[in-house]
Symmetry: C2
Subunit: 149 residues, 2 copies
Amino acid sequence: MIRLNRTTEYGLIALRHMSQRRQNITSAREVADQYGLPFEITAKTLQRLRDCGLIQSAQGAHGGYMLKKELEEVTLAEFLQLMEGPQAVVVCAPPMGSGHVGCECEYKGKCEIKGFMTDLNTRVFRFLSSIRLNELGRLRTVLAIGDEP
Amino acid sequence: MIRLNRTTEYGLIALRHMSQRRQNITSAREVADQYGLPFEITAKTLQRLRDCGLIQSAQGAHGGYMLKKELEEVTLAEFLQLMEGPQAVVVCAPPMGSGHVGCECEYKGKCEIKGFMTDLNTRVFRFLSSIRLNELGRLRTVLAIGDEP
DNA sequence: TTTATATACGATAATAGTTATCGTATATAA
DNA sequence: TTATATACGATAACTATTATCGTATATAAA
């Protein structure tokens, strides 16, 4: 159930990499080499990040990618939706954050489960919205209520 | 990323159905008919729930399934792991709740992202552990801290 | 102008995972 | 004996993800 896809995961790695070398431009080759990722997929991932407006690209010989948005402006929920499209925990609930409250329930009759499904969806969305990308690499210091000391 | 699989979703529906008619035995046919689910898959789902120890079965003409565990004893995290196997948010983190703290990181060199990945994994696991199956259908009344009134 | 390096991107192949179907066996109440 | 129900392996169908390939375009530097 709970699993980032490869592109999302590589995207996180790339974003963090870039956040640590502000000013400097990064290339797909550099990211791929540094973390041992397949070049082709890393390149696609960076293009995807660019399409999402998270980074900007420069073509040509000394081209590459640079961060465009502050990572603290982006929540994990937003990031996932950008990278993987609208997310819904269950078939019978509308995608997280879509604003739809109505249930597109395909189940017959009065499916009392839908209240649970919709709320679960909402809770997951809020949870993911509570995490910002700038927490990458320093999350231990900002663990939320409920974590042991 | 965040999506229950069909069996898990049907399993939740079936469990809730059964929790509402304690004492009474339920059949795969009954659940399938009531919610408009395909019979074959509903049957497999109930067998799966039985394998997980959540319900018990009785074969024969007046056979069927009955709840075995109190739903409030089961967290969503446990349920997901029973139904879908060990869960990990990312490739480079050990499955949630596995007790492993070490990172099975496949990425080259010092992948500083792994701290984030492992913590994200932990946070997701704790989030899912905070929800119990008995909240099915009455979740609105128990929404956690952070939700609007 | 040429060369090397880099992104851009569509097409598609390969793989994996999920979901659905089928056939047959077994148990039991009536 | 019959009707009803679970048990379950095998596998087909479908979907989504992941990987690969080929070609185009942009640009700095020689």
